[in-house]
Amino acid sequence: MNEAQQQLVSRLQPLIAGVMANPLRLPGITCSICTREVQNGDLRCRRCNNDYESNAVPFEFGPPGYQPSPYRTADLVVPLSYALKGHQAYTDLLQYKDTYSPSKAALDRLSVLTALFQACHTWCIDRLVGRLVTDLAILPSLQGRQGLHPLEEIAQYLPRAWRRIQLAAAPNLPSDSNARRQTNPAFFHNTENLHGRHVVLFDDTWVTGGHAQGAALTLRNAGAARVTILTLGRCLDSSWPETASFIRRFNLPMKPYDVAVCPVTGGTCPG
């Protein structure tokens, strides 16, 4: 990063410092996938573990120079901020896309969050996964939202080098929103051949990860060698007692937001 960019970063960071909160990556304390709290020192939270294990496939050899992952859910999940229910970051994630009264302030903050990630940590994904990102897909809404989704506006601040691919909601989805929370690749529709590619799947809020991981499986079915899910906010809901005690223990949301903390590792950037 050059000096002018560095200056831009320090001018923009205060705009989100009081609202966004760096997710914690603490083995045995937070889920190595989604960064919510885990129980009994587990590596992964229950939902992530379930999605991970139930989508494992027997090891097989791929074409030369490419080894498919034995686990078909995303190789990496990167939440940029915690979004605690009842706090501003969570409200921003709802209000930026409110159909009735969308908040420009929220859209601005989420754009700043994304642009700062792009400027400071794009390469961290490539390094940790070990393959350059080639494509970008935006997770489609499964609620039948019409028109251009405001997440598209935020996605303009992601690297231009990522080739944009189209991922759509499948027709005839279950009407019950709980049924739609299942991790199901059939909920998404993709027409591209993604053989050997590394796709970033961009989403706004991670609640259970069902939508995002379902879409990750869709991309795998199309041949994607690597899938990284990039999500703006990992929702934390204190009405779950375990989450409430995790929030108390670490006095979350921990602020001010620090862009120097790598969202891929939770600490220093991968070397």
């Binding site: 960019q5 831009l8 970063v9 001018r11 923009l12 960071q13 205060p14 705009l15 989100i16 410092a17 009081g18 609202v19 229910k85 009842g86 706090h87 501003q88 969570y90 409200t91 921003d92 709802l94 209000q95 409110d98 159909t99 009735y100 009264s101 908040s103 420009k104 302030a105 929220a106 601005d108 903050r109 754009s111 700043v112 642009a115 700062l116 792009q118 400027a119 303009q156 601040y157 992601l158 690297p159 009405s239 001010p256 937001y257 620090d258």
Partner: protein
Amino acid sequence: MSRVGGDEVLALVALLRHSNTGKSWRALVNEVREVGAVEMLHREHPPTLLDLEPTTELLDAAQHDLEAWSGLAKVLTLFDSDFPAQLREVHDLPPLLFVRGALADDRGACIVGSRQASPAALRFASDVATMLADLQVPVISGLAEGIDTAAHTAALSAGGRTVAVIGTGIDKVFPKGNEKLQQQIERDGLVLSQFWPGSNPTRATFPMRNATMSAYGMCTLVVTAGEQSGARIQARQAVAHGRPLLLTRDVVTRTEWGQELAASAYDVQVVSDAKDAVGAINRILQRPQRIDDLLVELTQ
């Protein structure tokens, strides 16, 4: 969030005032925000074999309230199209507002500070308010003694718009000495209350009022404050809302919290005089367009 009409007001009053849900006010409001008041009322009071319409009584009581309030003030819920849009941006918005005066699409600045303020601090507040009035920037404050009164009064005398966010019911005055000022703001500006009519000020109402004030303004300027003052609460709320905060040198040198905030990574600026403060406020009001440019510059 696209529910409009009288039913939402009625359901909201029934829920918040007459129904015993066992949930905290805030938890209830957060749920109402996501699902709507009518839906929420029915979820909390499902029909039983003995009572097929358990909400009737609650809605009747709410109807009775609304009739009693009809002469007092305009009642707005977060679902109304003329509910101030900037309040919907924050996590702790008031679900209902009682309004006297003229609503407008205000992009103003909050001026807050101690009740007991030095002549110099009062002068600072009224200078800033006068200059903002000249620039047609609404001056928002809390109608308390001291800094608030100085800010409102100066804005009015300069022919500017001023908005008072009060910590009592809309039909109450606190302190008594500001009765005339409150009436004048109702006539020439806008008075907002988030509390039930008839409510007296309590320890709980002022911090709630400060959150609403912080949300209503585009930024908060703390002119002078003590270690424990209400202005400190608003300073923290502004930071948590993502709203810029301005502190005078006086606040930074005299309080530990002021010093901490000034040295923090948050969106806090220290201003040395009234002109400096107005310049900073002006730049904040022009920010949204500039953010887009900065982001493009950073990511191109």
